[in-house]
Each structure stands twice: as structure tokens, then as C-alpha cells.
Point group: C2
DNA sequence: GCAAAAGTATGATTTATATCATAATTTTAA
DNA sequence: TTAAAATTATGATATAAATCATACTTTTGC
């Protein structure tokens, strides 16, 4: 279950579906960036200038709502793409991306990326498939929000995090989140998350140690869904 | 604001982005279907056999949850595509589509459609863009579910319906939904929808007549968002 | 290494909305 | 056309979760 680390800038959709001839162009145009934990990769309302591919580290994609509240759209890890939202109809990012730990990324100018799409129909096809799947997952989230109680949504979030990020040697899910970040993803308050985690722990479905979470009883946890 | 009717099977993404040479192939393979009000176009768990393009009529795309509850993912009208969700990884529809009024559709075998994508990169590109935008809209819905109260979500739904379906001569939004369908879209109960609509009407923001809804004060309605 | 800041657990109270209940109205189909 | 079925409006009650409050713990940055 341990997540494989991308040990080179390359384990991503861009490189996987790019024809070799064009890959040289991309390599010339690309740029490496690093972002410290807690720092933004880009922010809502920033002018869109390029797309990012995570090499190492983890990032949250989120959106502010009013003054205090935010919603986390998704968590991203090595290999994942950030910052592309269809043709540049809108010229600003509709979301923010913030590093959850020290992160390195490959940056590609938006014009170069769009040219790359034109030249590589298979990449466009893969990207279409990615969005179609992402859409389905997001629709599932809407459904959960509408009909599932918070505890079930927390169980779902933990299950998703385990699937996407794997676990480390001690069995803890390989991503550390604050209660507030969990809350912003699940769509509730950090107090409620705190309570739900205490409950799940009392029921021996999970085990925690600070921000670490380990699943103890996967089957029963999934019964809450 | 009146919605333009597609007076021929053709006002859709498929025809718009299909190269002329291939269009003949599509025309040969296509099939016309009609579905009576209340009848399914396809259902969750059905084997995916093809994709649909609405010619006339309106359709809801929805998903059951447990025994009684459902969530409406979106409403579709002439020109809209139904039933395609990325490469045929899953062989069953994850959602149902049901006619809200008598509807006619163009049906295309899934293999023919995927071949069409291979031959028409611009179609793939357009589809990718469609999904990217749909994703953004759905993420917005998740956010609304998480942070907005029911009344605001009802206001948002009404605004969206007006934008997407236009209004008729009497100013009513050109789609008739039951309170239950509204509820299933907004993520609440039909009793709550009933109350919210009464409230909005008392505040003179909308006007209703049976299932018809007209917006009276767009600005103030949008202030609820 | 330590003080300040950020994050966490848990209790008490409030509140929005679900649920339950009933009567009135509209739609459907025989 | 008419009776049955579906839909709607609205009131009363219950409840999950938000909010408010406080003490405790961990993390951060100088």
C-alpha cells in the first residue's frame, strides 16, 4: 500500500502521453519550483500563467467562501496536475493551491501546455478521461453532502485518503491534516471533526496519534458509507 | 432569453466538432429514439451501450441513494449529451436519465462514438473542455452544500434554471419541476422546498403558478448567494 | 529552548432543517 | 368525468450539527 515516490520529474500525465518528439520541447520549456509547507502554489484570482505537476510533496486545492470558511476541493500528491481548468476562458484561477508539506513542482507555461494538447491528441484524450472521472467523484461528493450524515462523510474521507495516499510503516495514512483541513474537506466544523474522530476511535474503527490516523477496521468503517 | 429550439438533429457538440468526412459515418450509424415523459432514457446499472444527444425535450440525470432518496445531478435540454463518462472502464451507467417531458434523442453506439473521438481531436478537446467546466460547476455545488443554507441554494438553483432554460412569454422559467425534483437537486426535502418557495414568494423575489416559477427580483435573489 | 501561536478535545446551548402529521389541491388514467 | 393517486402547503416536534466557551496540547519561529 506504500505510495511509490516519483524519483524523477516525469511520473505524470503530461510525460506519459506526450510523443517523444514533443517531449524535448516540453523539457526545454519547463521550470522547476519549490514551495515551502504552508505557502501557496497559486491563489484564487491570480492570473493563470501556467500549469503545475507535483514532483514531490502534497498540496491542497481549496476555495475560500466568504471571510472565514473554505472548502478543500481535493488533495494532490506527486504525479498530479494542478491549475488547468479547460481553455483559458477565464484568466484567473478559480481555486487556490497550498503546499501541505515542502513540495517541488514542474511548471509549464499555459501557452506551451495548450500547444502540447494540440500536438498530442492522446494527451487531450487522457485529460478528458481524467476530468470525466474527477467529475464523477465530485458528483458523488455532492450526493454524500446531500444525504449522508457527517460521521459517514468522515468515514468516507478517511477511506479515500488511505486509498489515495497509502499508509506508512506504522500503518498511518501517509498524509497529515489538521482537524480544520479535514473539516474543510468534509464540509463541517473542526469541533465536529474532533468529536467524530473521538467516536470512531472509541469504536475501535481507527487509531490516532496526533495528526496521524490509522484504519483498524476497514470493513466496519465502510459500512458507515 | 427564450431558448432557441434545435429544429434539426444537429445542434450538439458531436455535430459541431465532427469533421465533414466523418459526419457521414455518424449519420449512418445514428438512431432516433423517443421517450415519453417519466420514462427512463437509461438507468443506473444498465450496461453502457451508447451515448445520447437530446433533440427535443428535457431530461433529468439522477442517482438513487439508498431506497428512498435520490440526487439530481443535472437537468439536460436539446443539444446536451447524455451517457458518456470517459473511457469504458466501467461498463454500467453510474446514473439514470429520465425524461421530464416527451423527449426525442439521437442515439450513437458507444464504439462508434469512441471511434469518432479518435478521428476528431477537436471533438475530444471540446469534450475535455466540457468536462472541465462541468467539474468546476459541480465543485461549486459541493461548496454551496457545505457552506450555504437551503434558502441560498434554492435561490441559486432558480437562477441556474433561468439561465439554462430561459423563460417563456409569461416570464416563467421554461422547465416544470415537482417540489420533489427541486429538493433532489438542491439536496433537501420537498417540505423545505415548499416552505422556501413560499418565503421567496412572500418576499416578492419570485412569482409562482403551480409548477411554474418566475423571477421577479433577480438582483435581490442573487444577493442570497 | 522558550514563549507565543496554532491546534485539539470536550461540554453547554442554540438553530436550521428533517421528520411527522394533516388537509387541500392538482394530476393522472380508467 | 370522475375517482384514485400524486403533489403541495403548512403546522408541530425532534434532532444533528453549528456555535459558543474553556482548558489543554502541540507546533512554530525567534
Amino acid at each position: 500500500m506504500k505510495q511509490k515516490q516519483a524519483d524523477q520529474a516525469g511520473e505524470n500525465i503530461l510525460y506519459r502521453y506526450c510523443i517523444p518528439e514533443w517531449r524535448t520541447v516540453v523539457d526545454t520549456g519547463r521550470e522547476l519550483r519549490s514551495v515551502k509547507k504552508g505557502q501557496p502554489v497559486f491563489s484564487e484570482k491570480d492570473i493563470v500563467q501556467g500549469v503545475f505537476f507535483i514532483d514531490t510533496g502534497k498540496v491542497k486545492i481549496h476555495q475560500r467562501w466568504g471571510d472565514e470558511k473554505e472548502l478543500i476541493i481535493r488533495f494532490a500528491k506527486n504525479g498530479d496536475m494542478l491549475g488547468y481548468r479547460g481553455l483559458g476562458k477565464e484568466k484567473v484561477y478559480p481555486v487556490s493551491a497550498t503546499a501541505l508539506e515542502d513540495t517541488t513542482l514542474v511548471y509549464l507555461d499555459i501557452r506551451l501546455f495548450e500547444a502540447t494538447l494540440q500536438v498530442n491528441p492522446r494527451l487531450t484524450y487522457a485529460l478528458m478521461d481524467f476530468y470525466a472521472n474527477e467529475l464523477e467523484a465530485t458528483e458523488r461528493r455532492v450526493r454524500n453532502m446531500a444525504h449522508m450524515e457527517v460521521k459517514g462523510r468522515v468515514a468516507e474521507a478517511i477511506t479515500m485518503l488511505k486509498r489515495d495516499f497509502g499508509v506508512n510503516e506504522q500503518g498511518f495514512i501517509d498524509i497529515k491534516l489538521t482537524r480544520q483541513d479535514m473539516a474543510s474537506y468534509v464540509g463541517t466544523t473542526y469541533e465536529t471533526i474532533s468529536r467524530m474522530i473521538s467516536e470512531l476511535e472509541a469504536e475501535k474503527l481507527i487509531r490516532t496519534s496526533g495528526k496521524n490516523i490509522a484504519v483498524l477496521n476497514e470493513k466496519q468503517l465502510e459500512q458507515l458509507l
